[in-house]
Symmetry: C2
Subunit: 134 residues, 2 copies
């Protein structure tokens, strides 16, 4: 069974990435691995951690409802999210990584975030970039 790896953040672009990852997994008969990365230390106090757990509960409910095989990976460590995502995709021999991109405003800068650039440039497998609906 193939693997679709998706980077999840509790924002519209993260939800869009999750939804698309589920669709792609169904299309390919693959399972979904959801990666939710947090930097350790001061960034993640107890309140944030408990909110993150609630977010992941909602993710799990969506995956259960969709009926796709899945695994949730919540990572709290010192790596950049891009490294976590690429490492997990490599280990799982993923066939696809799905990431969410923020929509830029009409006057927004034409620069992709460094995490997105790193995933696009360094992932071994194809990367599907989706945006939240306008």
């Amino acid at each position: 069974m193939g693997t679709v790896v998706v980077g999840f953040v509790p924002k519209p672009e993260g939800e869009a990435a999750l939804d698309r990852a589920i669709e792609e997994a169904k299309l390919r008969g693959a399972r979904v691995v959801v990666v939710n990365s947090h930097r350790g230390g001061g960034d993640l106090d107890q309140e944030s951690s408990s909110r993150a757990d609630q977010d992941m509960e909602a993710v799990k409910a969506k995956l259960d409802a969709a009926g796709v095989d899945h695994e949730l990976r919540k990572l709290v460590r010192g790596f950049e999210p891009a490294e976590d995502l690429i490492g997990i995709a490599d280990d799982a021999d993923a066939e696809l990584i799905v990431i969410g991109l923020r929509r830029r405003s009409p006057v927004g800068k034409l620069i992709l975030g460094s995490n997105a650039q790193r995933i696009l440039l360094d992932a071994k497998c194809p990367v599907l970039a989706v945006k939240a609906d306008a």
Copy 2:
């Protein structure tokens, strides 16, 4: 029938994008629109133009062999390739754009090309970024 739009350049990453676009079109029961953009003027002398025609013949042969519905769009005009690709994808209400990215060397810069960034940021539909096999 859905549409998968692919930006083609006669380079390993362009061939990888075309191959993947064909796979994705088969998976989705979609057609493939191949966009081959050239800036007009001095950039495209007769020799380059005739070589470009040969490249597109090879693309057509590959699409015929794959048995997917397709359309070839060779554009020679003053727009950036990103604008051509996004414009055609919008007009066709594409469900997916496939682009090829160059692999960066181990010491390569961590910066995506401006055309790729523009497509990723401005396309209305999801964008699948693929690289040539190492």
